[in-house]
Symmetry: C2
Subunit: 190 residues, 2 copies
DNA sequence: GTCTATAGCCCGATAGAC
DNA sequence: GTCTATCGGGCTATAGAC
């Protein structure tokens, strides 16, 4: 079954937002990538912001599902966190949701920002809960602030992408992840 | 003394690149912000990429100077690192250099990417050296990988900006910074 | 050095046929 | 639902006067 025009438009917009952001994505480019005609696009969507919102929502949904799945596995808290950090990623491509934080037109609009905000909230809550479980199990130091460490880990991922892109190499991302995991593991020593 | 047209053009471009990135910044907007005429712009610069390069170089120079200054102060390694992380920042505005990593047109061009790459190299080296000094002084665990921790700290800063923008609040940045500092301090315990 | 005028193109969106 | 034609405007850049 060939995906329908509406679906192809969302997927094409999603890819372009990921690569080039909102200002860098034109309806013409979306049509070209989706293989859909102009009339079709304005039939299914009111315009560029409407299409961008649908694409964002799909990216957010996919990302949130990956997060929930990654933290639902069996294992210690450390294993689940390191499993999420080490899961397969196209590091130089970066994060389809995190990319949008660089776009002022998206950040300035409550509706367009909502999927980004919600996705980071889901990530934060999964990290925080897992860290709390690790503290309860004696894996981590019991004086850890779970909200702080959750934010630290989320920041390492997003910032790791930035370092990797600046270097055009995956190594800085991998180093940043190994570094935070080594600090987290060491916190249990006393 | 009124700054000359060339200087005002660079500063206007620098601000716009910071706020809106390369694709989001038009020569027209640069003229409007700089209060300079069109003929003047094309007299001083070959075009948009040339002007962007000059603006990037100024941002990189300012950032590198701030980094060098912040790590040149007296104090323990931990104090210098926490001093750099806690220095005054306009968190929601983000990093004038790190912002550029989101721009594919800049990342794809070796010349335009160079100032970004070099600035992160300077930050990494200052962090790495300071961490090594802290390990030598017994402040930090002696099994820390200094390159990894340096990348982790740099990533926390850049990623912290992304989290803050997604939430339109400074709190996630501050939490991420406090978290990584608490892990770093705890590493000395054994 | 700085000005105004203009080129040629692509932008986001609409109209109306089929 | 999808097509083609077209709009008004902003884009990056050049021309040529002063």
């Amino acid at each position: 079954m060939k995906p329908d025009a509406r679906d192809r438009l969302i997927e094409g917009t999603r890819e372009l937002l990921w690569e080039r952001g909102y200002v860098g994505t034109s309806p013409t480019a979306i049509l070209s990538r989706s293989g859909v005609g102009q009339g079709s696009m304005y039939h299914h969507f009111a315009g560029k912001p409407d299409l961008a919102l649908a694409a964002e929502q799909r990216s957010a949904e996919l990302m949130q599902q990956q997060i929930v799945d990654a933290f639902a596995v069996k294992g210690t808290a450390f294993e689940r966190i390191s499993g999420y950090l080490g899961r397969e990623r196209d590091v130089l491509r970066g994060c389809s949701v995190g990319r949008l934080t660089a776009d002022p037109d998206i950040m300035a609009d409550e509706k367009l920002r909502a999927p980004v905000r919600e996705t980071f909230e889901v990530l934060h809550e999964n990290l925080r809960r897992t860290i709390a479980e690790g503290v309860a199990a004696g894996e981590f130091a019991d004086d850890l602030d779970t909200d702080e460490i959750a934010s630290t880990i989320a920041a390492v991922i997003q910032g790791g992408y930035a370092l990797a892109r600046a270097a055009q190499a995956v190594a800085p991302f991998d180093r940043a992840v190994r570094g935070v995991l080594s600090l987290l593991r060491a916190s249990a020593r006393p």
